[in-house]
């Protein structure tokens, strides 16, 4: 009888120690391997040697109250937010409105109106979104002009050379996106046109502005713009910066819209053509509504870039948020508190840009209907 082969099963593996709960989580995510454990320790060391002292300086030991630098000089262990507190109106609304307490309602009203219009738009199920956006893009700028610039309805005219702070940053960014959007859409359509002359004009325009740094464009706008117009036509500095920013931004918007146009299947245009729609009808009713929807995330991204780039106007001497914070920190009363000034301005920029980028990421996820995971 041949030797029967007897099946001997391998011994059972021990059950995993723990696969649920915080201990298992720490074991898997923080100490998964030797290199991972080393990285965790290094990270914890760096974290605890920098973050608690910073929090202590910025929040716990900080000076919040008071009206002059004596309180900050008495307590040097913490940040001097007193300085921001005292200069807050300047940093937010600029020199003109900060110097006239009676006029402060104007920028305040504008910001309240803006957020009242914008916030409902961010939610998907708000009714009447169409009318809200038309109000925001069409009516709001007119209100802005009459309330902030003034000069009619008994509202005194404000001096644009004294515009500044976050109000100016906001105005530059808003005008930039508002004017750049239609120009950018036209340029994007032109770039995809079948007419070679139109196409080349649009390509040259887009590539020209995209290839030049914004600071050069702002120099160009502030030095050369007066040369381009006949004597007698004068723009003030803010308008010059707005023109430069619009030119620059329209090229970037055009590229964002072009991405959306390229994503629309050719069949859409062909079907519209088969129905007998002409170029403009098929563009306005069939192509653009789909293309713009797809390109909203990239348009928001170019807008984030623009919002950050408005800080460049401080180089041509405009007192925007960055320059206002810096000027305040270099004034005789508050010399030496640069860090606080930069941190505060940086935080405002960061909050807006981060908010917008989260929004655009959300939107992207929502629009991405054929996502895999």
């Amino acid at each position: 009888m041949p030797d029967a082969k007897i099946f001997v099963p391998a011994p059972d593996r021990a059950p995993p120690l723990n696969t649920l709960g915080p201990v298992a989580w720490v074991r898997e995510n923080l100490f998964g391997s030797v290199s991972s454990s080393v990285a965790t320790l290094i990270f914890l060391y760096l974290f605890f040697s920098y973050v608690p002292p910073f929090v202590e300086w910025a929040l716990i030991n900080a000076n919040w109250t008071g009206t002059d630098r004596s309180i900050c000089e008495a307590n040097t262990a913490g940040a001097c937010w007193t300085f921001i507190n005292v200069r807050l109106e300047q940093i937010l609304f600029g020199l003109y409105f900060a110097s006239k307490p009676d006029e402060l309602w104007r920028p305040t009203l504008i910001f309240i109106l803006f957020f009242a219009l914008l916030l409902p738009l961010l939610f998907e199920k708000t009714p009447g979104k169409k009318w809200l956006s038309i109000t925001l893009l069409g009516v709001f700028p007119v209100v802005f002009y009459f309330v902030v610039y003034g000069g009619s309805f008994g509202i005194p005219q404000s001096n644009t050379t004294q515009w500044g702070g976050f109000l100016l940053t906001f105005a530059l960014a808003f005008v930039g996106i508002l004017l750049a959007l239609p120009i950018g859409i036209l340029l994007a359509l032109g770039r995809r046109s079948e007419l070679p002359v139109i196409r080349s004009i649009c390509v040259i325009y887009i590539e020209f502005w995209r290839g030049t740094p914004l600071i050069t464009i702002l120099f160009m706008a502030s030095v050369m713009l007066p040369l381009f117009f006949p004597a007698g036509v004068e723009f003030d500095k803010v308008v010059r910066a707005m023109i430069g920013i619009t030119m620059f931004q329209s090229a970037y918007t055009a590229e964002a819209v072009r991405g959306g146009l390229a994503a629309i299947p050719k069949g859409q245009a062909e079907a519209a053509m088969a129905l007998g729609l002409g170029y403009w009808k098929r563009t306005i009713f069939i192509i653009l509504p789909q293309a713009l929807k797809i390109s909203i995330p990239s348009i928001v991204n170019t807008f984030i870039a623009l919002f950050k780039d408005t800080s460049l106007v401080s180089i041509i001497g405009l007192l925007d948020l960055l320059n206002m914070a810096q000027t305040a920190a270099r004034s005789v009363e508050w010399r030496g508190y640069d860090i606080e000034g930069y941190l505060f301005a940086g935080f405002i920029y960061w909050a807006f840009c981060y908010g917008m980028s989260r929004y655009s990421q959300n939107l992207e996820r929502k629009l991405d209907t054929n996502r895999r995971n």
Binding site: E207, G211, V223, Q326, G346
Partner: protein, 393 residues
Amino acid sequence: MIERTRIPLHRDPKVRAMLVQALALIIVIYGFYSLFQTTVDNLVARGIQTGTSFFDEVAPFQIGFSPFFDYKLGESTYIDVFFVGIQNTILVAVLGIIAATLLGFFIGVIRLSPNWLVARGALVYIEIFRNVPLLLQIMFWNFAIFLPTLPAPKKSIEMGAFYLNARGFHTPLPVIEDSAGFAVWMLLLVGLVAGLVIFARRAKVRFQETGQRLPVLWISLVAIVLGGYALYKIAGSPLGFDVPVLGRFNFKGGGQLPLPLFSLWFALTLYTAAFIAENVRAGIQSVSYGQTEAAQALGLSRRDTIRLVTIPQALRVIIPPTISQYLNLTKNSSLAVAVGYEELVAVWAGITLNQTGQALVIIGMTVAVYECLSLFTSFVLNWYNKRIQLTER
């Protein structure tokens, strides 16, 4: 019988296309013509003679930092200023690109680390540095951190023969003392590299024939470091070092990176690295997990899976946006004007423009330099995209 209807001329698409284009062309040409005409009139009215004759005039200001050209106050002309500006722009761009690439790849890779803390840390880094204006970051590092906290030259932070103080960063500089020996060393090095290239080819052939692999990369690295040093000794040590020495006010001799360059480089690196890190993350995530599984099914080791399957496919996604980031970094270096680093926009579109008033020529030349860079970048990108398209089957 088919009756042919004639299309009226104004509804014929071809005729209309021609008309529209002719109209657009006329409007653009007329626009440029009238712009040009008013500009010339305005310049005449202000008494500015537009032209390039100011190129050869001596520039009445000093440029402190010019590592490769000699710039002398009272001798150098305006056109020299232009070239010094380009040189300084390229210098900070190259330094920034190298550092941002290294840091960006590092952050992008650890962003996907299985270690939760490390991945979160990378995310926080990216979200902070991406969402704060670069200009603010440059000014923050320069005016709020480096200028007040770095010591005076007398109390410099010493790192061997390197010194860091509020004036900048000072390094020893190699100087060729024996030019014949240096030439011999260079020739020997070329020979060594050629040998290594042949060795790498042979190793590849051997791998394809027998499947045995040699650690070519390590062998080459060791050969270059050790062999390079040995050959340096053989050639009779042809280099000397110009070491920075503390003078009365600041260090003299050696290489000097002024503080504005240092701050600019630092801020550009941190800012651009955040964007590159995002490109790297997106690139790695774009390679579907099935690729890794397939490689494992074929029996590839973990290292080979990453090296031969994941990285080549990820790079295809990573490289194009990263090249655009390099262009952005170069354009962003023009923000140096805020901290006083003497690059193209600062010395040419800034100081020279103020001195001469030649707005048209100066802005035109500045724009032309950046346009050339941007055209060059899109040329490289197109070339790269075409190349990876060919390998796609």
